[in-house]
């Protein structure tokens, strides 16, 4: 088997209408039509999805592990950035 020459596509599946799409994995395919068919065959053969997105992997922009500190940590020590800073009126839970 050799699929070195085919580009990689990221696959996102939606379990039910209205739910968010979740990353399922990736497939190799020469173009979008076949990417969709391959994604269907690999990630939804047991009725796992109602809709599938495929995206060329190189179109995904990701933060890097080096970004972790500057991207995410500043929010950790600032409790006032989280909504639990506010008192919720008890009636709202009834």
């Amino acid at each position: 088997m050799n699929n070195d020459n085919w580009p990689l596509w990221e696959v996102f599946t939606q379990k039910r209408t209205g739910l968010p799409f979740e990353h399922a994995g990736n497939v190799h395919a020469p173009d979008k039509e076949m990417a969709l068919m391959n994604a269907r065959d690999v990630y939804s053969r047991r009725n796992e999805a109602t809709c599938i997105w495929v995206v060329p992997s190189d179109s995904i922009v990701s933060s890097t592990p080096e970004d972790m500190g500057s991207f995410f940590e500043p929010s950790n020590d600032k409790a006032y950035r989280h909504p639990n800073f506010y008192k919720t009126p008890g009636a709202i839970f009834e």
Partner: protein, 252 residues
């Protein structure tokens, strides 16, 4: 022949074609040209084997004589199978597998569409379920046929060779006998011969887009309705049935 007997045989035939084609596609497991296609071919195989089980089960219920799906699949001999001859043809290369799938899936799609109107409720329900599956099989094989036909010189050459290998078995798809005639009269079965024009139009469109030509007056081999097969079925059955024959009733 009673309507019941005819219907049992009719269901067994539909199951036979799905089983033999499913077994053939299963031979690709671990040998697909790429991982994704390996999974696609075996998915189709599993769809077909699922259809087989459903149609065999109906046939056994109608016959009501102790027959079960394992006996049908594993304990019948070559002449007792009535699958279409195309289904048993060897996988050959990927082009030949794809063309075989295209020709059969196109037939199955038209056949199940017509079978939706069967007066036998269970058969109509099975047609409804199977139709969704074969519609995808047709999409998959049509897409690949066009890609290979329009692809490289080599892929087009291989598709043309597949046409030469397989087209002689096309007429056999549409053959009918007294079983079909009886069930057409009862509005339970499908007039397979009547699907030919629609099949020709469907296939011609796909082949044209693929840039592949169809033999004008092909040599024709038929005989599946009377259980006459090409030399390939015996070998397939020997492999498929060996375990069950060695260890009767084996389960895992």
């Amino acid at each position: 022949m009673t309507t019941h007997e005819a219907l049992a045989r009719y269901c067994i035939r539909l199951g036979d074609t799905s089983l033999i084609l499913g077994q053939r596609l299963g031979e690709w497991c671990g040998h697909g040209p790429i991982l994704e296609e390996d999974i696609a071919l075996t998915n189709i195989s599993l769809d077909l084997i699922g259809q087989t089980r459903a149609f065999y089960t109906v046939a056994c219920e109608i016959s009501n004589n102790g027959l079960d799906e394992d006996r049908l699949a594993f304990l019948r001999s070559e002449r007792e199978f009535q699958n279409v001859l195309l289904a048993e043809q060897p996988n050959g290369d990927f082009a030949q597998t794809i063309l075989r799938q295209l020709l059969i899936s196109a037939f199955q799609k038209l056949n199940f569409e017509a079978l939706l109107h069967s007066k036998h409720e269970t058969v109509a329900a099975l047609a409804h379920k199977s139709l969704k599956e074969v519609t995808y099989h047709l999409r998959h094989s049509a897409d690949w046929t066009i890609r290979l036909g329009q692809g490289t010189e080599e892929s087009a050459r291989r598709m043309n060779e597949a046409v030469g290998e397989l087209w002689m078995y096309v007429d056999d798809l549409f053959d009918m006998d007294e079983v079909d005639q009886l069930l057409i009269k009862e509005q339970v079965g499908v007039d397979a011969a009547g699907l030919r024009t629609a099949w020709d139009n469907l296939i011609n469109g796909i082949m044209k887009e693929a840039g592949l030509s169809i033999p004008e007056k092909p040599f024709s081999i038929r005989g599946s309705r009377s259980g006459k097969h090409t030399e390939h079925l015996g070998h397939l059955l020997a492999e498929m049935q060996s375990l069950h024959r060695a260890i009767p009733g084996a389960e895992w």
